[in-house]
Amino acid sequence: MKKTEGIPTVTDSGKAVSSGSEWRRLLSFQNISAIYIFVVIFVIFSILVPALTGTQSFLAPGTWANLLDTQSLTVLAAIAVLIPLTAGVFNLAVGAEISFAMMLCIVLQLPSAQYQKDLGLALGLPWPVAAIITVLAGGLIGLASGLVVTRLKIDSFIATLGMSSILIALAYLISANRPFSVPAGFGSLSAANIPLGPFRLTLPVIVLIVIAVVGWYVLERTPIGRRMYAAGFNPDGARLSGVNVSRLQLGALVVGGLIAGVIGVLASSKFGGSPGYGNGMLLPALAAVFLGSTQFKGGRFNIWGTVLALYVLAVGIQGFLLVRVPDWITDFFYGVALIGAVAMSRWERTSKRLGAVKRATTLGSKK
């Protein structure tokens, strides 16, 4: 049969591929474009920043340590979006979940004698108790979103968008629309750190590393992760292969909510409570998840791609801020990045499909 002649044209990571071309694939622009983008951004700003501002701040180690720390919460938010998305559900409520968790964590610690009048939740709890309640509340919120999606069969996009609006309202309600500073003693939580050479690994960074490693392990190594990807790619097909799709989606939203609760605790320990804080995290998180899906795994949402993508975007923003571009550039940049990232992931899938179709037709015509 001449059919077999078509086979060598099929390029994929099979066993037969030599190690040289395997390296080429690993280092290809398509596989790790974010790293190349990072290099470009890095070079541009390390020339621009000193030239325009006369300081070396872009290259200073402090800038980088600070970036690692400040962005760690946004990366966590991206993971809270990523996990449900892997199982095929959007979690657009992540920003509002964080805002709500922040306010809850602060308000629970406020002395009741002073605030009980207009803040029913001001119970004067010690911060560890408030933190635990906040994380659990995050999980409950995720459960509520999950039940709306899986039981009421409402599209996750709509369900979590609606949930988001409800949570923003609740965040204002429990805080009587007031910002609060960090309660005494609570600030030590986010400041806790392990010194590591010139850097200090702060608690948010450590939490990020732990959650990312656990998330990576579950998603890519365990049967649960395998089933989540299957549910995300084709829920009907996955169900017929014995995957309990709704239970996975429900669970994924609960985990997303728990992570949002953790972010809320850490953020409130650092910044106190401002009812709108988390809302700005949704867009960078989404952009990073989609840009991340184009990295390493050829179109699959994945943890390390997401982490990398977010830091690359953040470095870009940092550079802009150092050359004194106005603040609004952040929103602009993340908007462009989100659309660009989704376009890239679509393009990657289409080109793959076109490639497959082309191969199929050449097989046919050679017959």
């Binding site: 994929d12 089933r227 097909g237 169900r239 014995g242 097989l363």
Partner: protein, 504 residues
């Protein structure tokens, strides 16, 4: 051709060829249609009739052959209109709006409506086919026959002369017998006015009722082209199945059977009513029936992916009430669905991931992770066993050819030696070579002790594979065929409800 049909034909198709990878869907098919003539194109699933329509509609491009309109002149160009099975109507819009959709495009789409005029126009179009009906309610609320008439009226709206071609693709699928009358009267009126009609169907009685000429396709080739007077029911069946009465291949006999593995009493659910089934280890039972008979609904009900009720449902001697896919798999059932892309696979995952998805526990190590090494070795072994080409476990499922995709799906379900294997159209869209391999895999699974249920629209396939075939009609078991009685002809005839005529 009847002599009354003088002049050049409206449509001539000569030597039409269409190939898909590993399959010749149309092989040198020629056909012509004259003004005033109703030509029926008949054939089983996979005979090539839908490929023919799709080429005429421009969905596929032909590999060879000519399509010409010899009667077409500058004054009277021949138009070709196709009414597809789903009619292409917008169910929420009214008849008027549906009729206007095609015309009101471009700049015309901005012009305001003249309601009165449009109602009058719609009524006039519809009244050509009999009693007019309400044109101002959403089409979804009309009877199916009335919908067909709207679709035909829309195709006809704007014909400058009646001598055009109208193709009806399985138009009676959703209709009741009384409604079929209404539709047929409308079609006959059109032909009487000079239109050439191509009527695609697999309902043999309707074909004999309506057409002036019958063209039969089988395996992509034209096997008969005869005027209505010269063909009767038996001859038509013989043409469609390709088997003359008396020389038929029969089902398998004498295969050893084990204990009962599946016992179902009075199973009812979407499309199925009170079906009984007893399946033994090592037995292959076929489910036949025309589209809509319940044939395609049954396996999903048994597997639990669609809710159903049964008075008794025992798998391996144990009652099994709350059926779900996950639980069915745990109890040793496997299900190969007919729609491979939508239900049978995760197209964007690799062959390896597809194969092991239903059961990963045996490949999981102490740390709760899937052991990559063991999984690869296991899948590699299965890929060799089922001869998947190319033998690459890491290739994305969608990038395999149809036949090899199905081999991967088979490997996925057969790897843990299921007790009960449910197969729906197991060789659909699969080339001949892979087909034989899949048949071999089914035989081997039965020999290894699985009870197999095969639902198929291909009578030949059922006769090849099965010990016994249940023929469904209107959701119920209409006949059970085995041994001497299990022939292609009987399977087809019972499916159409013509069992007695076939026995004369």
């Amino acid at each position: 051709m009847s002599p009354s049909l003088g002049g050049a034909p409206l449509l001539t198709i000569t030597g039409m060829v269409k190939e898909f990878p590993g399959l010749r869907a149309l092989d040198d098919v020629s056909l012509d249609v004259h003004s005033g003539e109703i030509v029926a194109v008949v054939g089983h699933n996979g005979s090539g009739k839908s490929t023919l329509v799709k080429i005429l509609a421009g969905v596929y491009t032909k590999d060879a052959g000519e399509v010409e309109f010899p009667a077409s002149t500058a004054d009277e160009p021949t138009e070709l209109h196709i009414i597809h099975q789903d009619l292409g109507l917008s169910m929420q819009l009214t008849a008027i709006e549906n009729l206007g959709i095609q015309k009101r495009q471009g700049v015309a789409g901005w012009a305001p409506f003249n309601k009165k005029q449009e109602i009058a126009h719609a009524r006039e179009l519809i009244s050509r086919f009999g009693e007019p009906f309400d044109v101002t309610v959403p089409v979804g609320r009309l009877a199916p026959a009335q919908r067909s008439i709207i679709a035909i009226a829309r195709a006809l709206d704007g014909w400058k002369h009646p001598r055009n071609i109208l193709i009806l693709d399985e138009p009676t699928e959703a209709l009741h017998a009384s409604e079929v009358r209404v539709l047929f009267d409308a079609v006959k009126k059109l032909a009487a006015q000079g239109a050439g009609i191509i009527f695609i169907s697999h309902r043999l009685d309707e074909v004999l009722d309506l057409s002036d000429r019958v063209v039969v396709l089988r395996d992509g080739r034209k096997v008969a082209d005869e005027s209505r007077e010269r063909i009767d029911h038996d001859r038509l069946v013989a043409h469609v199945t390709g088997v003359a009465a008396g020389e038929a291949e029969t089902g398998r006999v004498g295969r050893p059977h084990g204990d009962v593995v599946l016992e179902v009493e009075n199973l009812s659910g979407a499309g199925i009513e009170d079906v009984d089934l007893t399946l033994h280890a090592g037995e292959v039972v076929g489910i036949a029936g025309v589209l809509g008979s319940g044939r395609e609904a049954l396996p999903a009900l048994m597997f639990g992916s669609v809710p159903s009720h049964a008075d008794r449902f025992e798998l391996g001697g144990e009652p099994y009430e709350d059926r779900s896919p996950a639980e069915s798999i745990r109890r040793g059932m496997g299900f190969v669905p007919g729609d491979r892309a939508k239900f049978g696979s995760i197209r964007l995952m690799t062959a390896r991931e597809n194969v092991t998805l239903p059961e990963l526990k045996s490949l999981t190590n102490g740390a709760g992770a899937v052991s990559t090494k063991r999984e690869r070795a296991h899948v590699m072994e299965l890929i060799a066993k089922y001869d998947v080409k190319p033998p690459r476990p890491e290739q994305v499922f969608a990038q395999f050819s149809g036949g090899n995709q199905q081999k991967v799906v088979f490997a996925k379900w057969l790897r843990n030696n299921p007790r009960v294997l449910l197969l729906e159209e197991p060789t659909q869209g699969v080339d001949i070579g892979a087909k034989q391999a899949l048949y071999g895999a089914i035989d081997a699974a039965a020999a290894a002790g699985a009870g197999v249920v095969v639902c198929s629209s291909e009578a030949k396939e059922l006769v090849r594979l099965c010990d016994r075939v249940l023929v469904l009609r209107n959701g119920r078991v209409a006949a059970e065929l085995s041994g001497e009685d299990l022939t292609e002809t009987r399977v087809v005839l019972e499916g159409y409800g013509l069992g007695n005529e076939g026995e004369q």
